[in-house]
Amino acid sequence: MPSLKDLKNRIASVKSTQKITKAMQMVAAAKLRRAQEAAEAARPYAERMGNVLAALGAAYAGRADAPALLAGNGRDQVHLLVVATGERGLAGGFNSSIARLARETAQKLIAEGKTVKILTVGRKGNDILKRGFADKIIETISFRDVRQLGYVNAASVGEKVLAMYAAGEFDVATLFYSRFRSVIAQIPTAHQLIPAKFEAPAADAPETLNYEYEPDEEAILEDLLPRNISVQIFRALLENNASFFGAQMSAMDNATRNAGEMIKKLTLVYNRQRQAQITKELIEIISGAEAL
């Protein structure tokens, strides 16, 4: 049975933990708003890019002279998994759910006899995937020191991926990140980067008109496809960022609530013991007085 002093100390320590989680929750909430705005600001660009490429790409579907980034290089042996996670923990299941999806995919690919290479963006993904896939991780990119994620950060990742593709180091690239649905729902998502996959253009989208192309269709496609990789990565990083703060916020909210419950329980035990002690002392005094 813990003494009164022990209980008092426990309560004090849980209280200070609660203060920390509460503060973290509020910080996450403030950062979430900014991250969400950034993610929304990036959406028009990515969407337009997707529409244009889908329209251009449709013309090339099934043609032998289609660019490799669009049609693939004809092989399906070496898979590159680009796993984007957070830089920090304390965000509930955020990092581990992305890593789990990546791990399951990797295991499936390995079972099929394919070669898997992993490029992690974010320190946490590396930490988690190191267990079991240490020999598969070829590089880790960390944006720990970056205050505000900019397009240049994503472009640097994109260039790396493109350089590896050009060097023939992989055949198919898939990007893993967490899509931001709401504060409580973040969906781990796999998105194939190379060969490029597009959502089918909306049925009511205006039919491709008699566009004039400058310099020509092929050159535009060749210019846009590499850009699109960076844009997709940028978008994923922003979504990830928003998801991270959303996950952290709800995790910290839970932690604060749990700490509150714990304090309540401990206080109850503390009070009971205090009363028991008083009763005991009273009995001692009374029986002492009676004995006289």
Binding site: A38, A41, A42, P44, Y45, A46, R48, M49, V52, G150, Y151, A154, A155, P206, L209, N210, Y211, E212, Y213, E214, P215, A219, I220, D223, L224, R227, V231, F234
Partner: protein
């Protein structure tokens, strides 16, 4: 007859501008061109350069854009640029830095192809500086 054209300038980070304007001059792959209302559908990649926007009230405004493409459709003109900013934020020193970096890379270039490509890039940046010193890109038709 449509009055002016709808213009959107979008960079990966944000939507820079979205409004109906009188005319827009764009640095296309084959040179600057100007879009008025009811322009034929056109798609082009962008060269680094200046977009001149003339508002409906006749006031013009210049933006610096780099990398990306312009899409002229019946709905209007969309400029998707990797980098887009107000001319006031345009940084000469940065471009000069890029030229210097290009020249160093050219020294180290192994193949003639590589050298040509870098030369074209450097020329592009130099033209850009010329345009900038003249004032706006619209003079470089």
């Amino acid at each position: 007859m449509a009055e002016g054209t709808k213009l959107e300038i979008v960079s990966p980070e944000r939507l820079l501008l979205s409004e109906t304007v009188k005319s827009v001059t764009v640095p296309g792959a084959d040179g600057y061109f100007t879009v008025l209302g009811d322009h034929a559908p056109l798609m082009t990649t962008l060269k680094p350069g200046f977009v001149t926007v003339v508002r409906n009230d006749g006031i013009s405004h210049v933006y610096y854009v780099r990398g990306g493409f312009a899409d002229v459709s019946p709905e209007g003109l969309t400029i998707l640029a990797e980098e887009a900013q107000d001319i006031a934020e345009f940084d000469r020193a940065k471009i000069e830095g890029l030229i210097a970096a290009g020249l160093t890379a050219q020294q180290a270039a192994n193949t003639a192809d590589e050298e040509m490509r870098l030369q074209a890039e450097i020329d592009g940046w130099r033209n850009l500086l010329l345009d900038a010193s003249v004032g706006t890109g619209s003079t470089a038709h």
